[in-house]
């Protein structure tokens, strides 16, 4: 597409780009970032479950990167390479069988959902189990230019820069079963979370080496730095109900944003707050920091490229 576009542009301007290589490639790699706010959210969720009545909390092991798949389409003309890259960031966190037991909130012994199901008929108050799944789906798209001189017939090496946008969403699904006589029916909730604004800019810079065992086949290794930051996260859609989630996060609804909140003068005492900007502003005894998605960090990838010479 890009090559075609450039060919059209060159034709319009009377430039003769030929000969050039039409390129396509696919690569696998790893993106690292600090994602300080998102990690903070995970820690606060862990803290909430630990403090909530009778929960077996889950453990946060760190959310600082993920594998990524990239697809590339472009052209190479002399020492220069132009193209469009699309990345696919998809990550799923799942936590199954998280039990809660309001009957014994101070218990020290870890219990399981199996324990609660086995004792369901004898529970005098309310207990239950929940399954949670969080999924992130983000797609950065960048227009790229790289200086990639051919040092040997089988070797290209150089550096590049890309500029584009990042868009996507995240979802949280929670399924809760309540146990005990007269308990509520199981409930299920799904929250779609989108960045605000919907797209964020992406900058990428890298160094790259491509080994060409054949004129039309190359293996490219890239390493570099990416800068991108989501301004905030907002609930776009809510479907279903959850008594547990509504209790802890005060009935989250579409239009609510995610904040880290602390009482003024107590910066270390942070909690997660989900609400509208107006609701946040109304809480004058608190300082609010909107949860951002800082995905800046290093990346590496290893890919395979195909080149077709256009005469």
């Amino acid at each position: 597409m890009i090559a075609g576009l450039l060919a059209c542009l060159s034709a319009l301007h009377g430039l003769d780009l030929k000969p050039f290589d039409l390129d396509a490639g696919i690569s696998e790699g790893y993106n690292h970032y600090e994602a300080a706010d998102l990690n903070k959210v995970m820690v606060l969720l862990e803290q909430t479950t630990r403090e909530a009545s009778g929960f077996n909390h889950y453990n946060v092991t760190g959310f600082d990167g993920h594998p990524a798949t990239q697809a590339w389409l472009g052209m190479t003309k002399g020492d220069w390479r132009f193209g469009l890259e699309m990345e696919f960031w998809t990550e799923t966190f799942a936590q199954k069988d998280v039990p809660f037991d309001a009957e014994n909130p101070d218990r020290k012994v870890r219990i399981t959902c199996a324990d609660l199901y086995a004792a369901a008929d004898t529970l005098s108050t309310r207990a239950g189990c929940l399954d949670a799944q969080e999924t992130f789906r983000f797609i950065p798209i960048t227009l790229q230019v790289a200086w990639m001189p051919k040092w040997k017939s089988w070797l290209r090496s150089g550096a590049g820069y890309g500029f584009g946008v990042l868009a996507g969403d995240a979802s949280l699904n929670l399924h809760t079963v309540y146990l005990g006589p007269g308990s509520a029916k199981p409930d299920r909730i799904s929250l779609e979370i989108v960045p605000t604004p919907l797209v964020a800019f992406v900058h990428k810079a890298w160094v790259s080496t491509e080994v060409l065992p054949l004129s039309w086949l190359g293996f490219e290794m890239r390493g570099g730095w990416r800068y991108t930051k989501l301004g905030g996260l907002e609930i776009d859609k809510r479907e279903g109900e959850s008594r547990v989630l509504d209790l802890i996060f005060d009935n989250p609804k579409a239009g609510d944003r995610l904040y880290v909140r602390n009482p003024s003068g107590y910066p270390e005492q942070t909690t997660l707050f989900i609400g509208t900007p107006g609701e946040a502003k109304a809480q004058s005894r608190y300082d609010f920091h909107q949860v951002t998605g800082d995905f800046s960090g290093w990346f590496v990838s290893l890919g395979v490229n195909f080149h077709w010479g256009i005469e």
Binding site: T125, G180, R243, R285
Partner: protein, 379 residues
């Protein structure tokens, strides 16, 4: 016969405590914030008492109360518990405890008013505060105080529940209120300012099938103590009940500290009463102690462990041990400007016999008392 016998046993174990009029200990001094050694001293006896509501409500959270039939059954079950807990007897026992110790001020939490407006005639209407005041007025004992109350109703809700599976059953109509209150001796004290300040961080849950906030707020009263010798002392009194959920509780504690700091009158003695729902050296309590508040119990621990809550046998509060199965100290009297606290005590000397024949405390909390000596100048 059972009550005196039990009380004798408890007395032997230090469970039933009666405050003595004399100073029985001066274990330490207050923070000194707001105090003035040259000012005339004023000694006041204050108490905090969570009256508890007498039935378990945890099940309300996880029950489908949007379904009228389910709600009808849940409400009926709770009403049965309520009747069996002898609410009038419990309130009278609480009043007896207050009359026996005769404090100047009492911070009350979980005061309630449950009324059944239709569908059942066997549920007694016992507005806790009105019943408490009536009983105190009619049975003052040796306590010559004329108690009045600063009210702070917070949860107010009502609902009519019909059984869709039994249209022949009359709808059950309910009205519920719950809140905090400050009891004071109107003969020696006057109120110059009062308000109820809601916390920003509140848990919202369903009560009687309606989504509502928990009853957490700071109740504030500025009261002036008029001594018989003509001297006057001003106090800012703060009364609250913090949330059970840890993160919310700590936020509410910080909010309370912010509220108190913003309204601080440096010429007045400071008294904080409440069910703070956390242990003495927890991060919740450190928010207060780190801002100049002194825990009266630590100033004068006395001979008791200070345990105030909660009856392990549930809402019936069985008297099974010197502490009635209570295991935690979560009810506090904090002060600023007091240079001495003495005669701190946990009152475990009032009981009521419920339908099952069990002898129970009026609440699953114990009343905490402390005599505080302030040296504050009043303009």
């Amino acid at each position: 016969m059972r009550i005196p016998a039990l009380c004798l046993v408890l007395l032997g174990l230090g469970g039933c405590t009666r405050l003595e009029p004399d100073i029985i200990g001066q274990a330490g001094s207050g923070s000194g914030v707001g105090s003035d050694a040259s000012a005339s001293p004023d000694t006041v006896l204050v108490a905090t008492y969570n009256l508890s509501i007498g039935y378990e409500v945890e099940s309300l959270i996880a029950s489908d109360l949007t379904n009228d039939t389910v709600a009808w059954h849940q409400a009926s079950r709770i009403l049965d518990q309520y009747i069996a807990s002898r609410p009038l007897g419990r309130v009278r026992a609480a009043a007896e405890a207050i009359a026996r110790h005769c404090p100047d001020l009492v911070g009350l939490q979980e005061t309630e008013n449950l009324r059944v407006t239709s569908g059942r005639t066997d549920v007694p209407t016992v507005p806790f505060l009105d019943s408490l005041l009536s009983w105190l007025a009619a049975h003052p004992g040796d306590c010559s105080r004329r108690y009045a109350v600063l009210r702070s109703p917070l949860n107010v809700t009502g609902r009519s529940l019909s059984r869709s599976d039994r249209p022949d059953v009359a709808p059950l109509g309910l009205h519920f209120e719950e809140g905090n209150a400050i009891l004071y001796d109107a003969g020696q004290w006057s109120v110059t300012d009062s308000s109820t300040i809601m916390f920003d961080d509140l848990l919202r849950t369903e009560l009687l099938g309606k989504l509502m906030s928990s009853e957490r707020a700071v109740q504030y009263g500025r009261l002036v103590h008029q001594r018989p010798d003509g001297r006057r002392f001003a106090y800012q009194v703060w009364n609250s009940h913090l949330e059970v959920l840890s993160s919310t509780r700590k936020n509410q504690a910080a909010e309370m500290q912010i509220i108190m700091s913003n309204r601080r009158d440096w010429s007045a003695g400071q008294i904080l009463l409440g069910d703070l729902n956390d242990s003495a050296f927890s991060s919740t309590l450190r928010i207060f102690t780190g801002n100049g508040w002194s825990d009266a119990w630590l100033l004068d621990p006395g001979s008791q462990a200070g345990i105030t809550c909660c009856a392990s046998s549930g809402w019936l509060n069985k008297v099974t041990s010197p502490t009635g199965g209570k295991t935690r100290r979560i009810d506090y009297i904090l002060s600023q400007g007091a240079d001495t606290a003495f005669s701190t005590a946990i009152a475990l000397d009032s009981f009521v016999t419920v339908d099952s024949g069990n002898v129970v405390f009026p609440s699953d909390h114990a009343m905490v008392l402390a005599k505080l000596r302030f040296r504050v100048k009043v303009p």
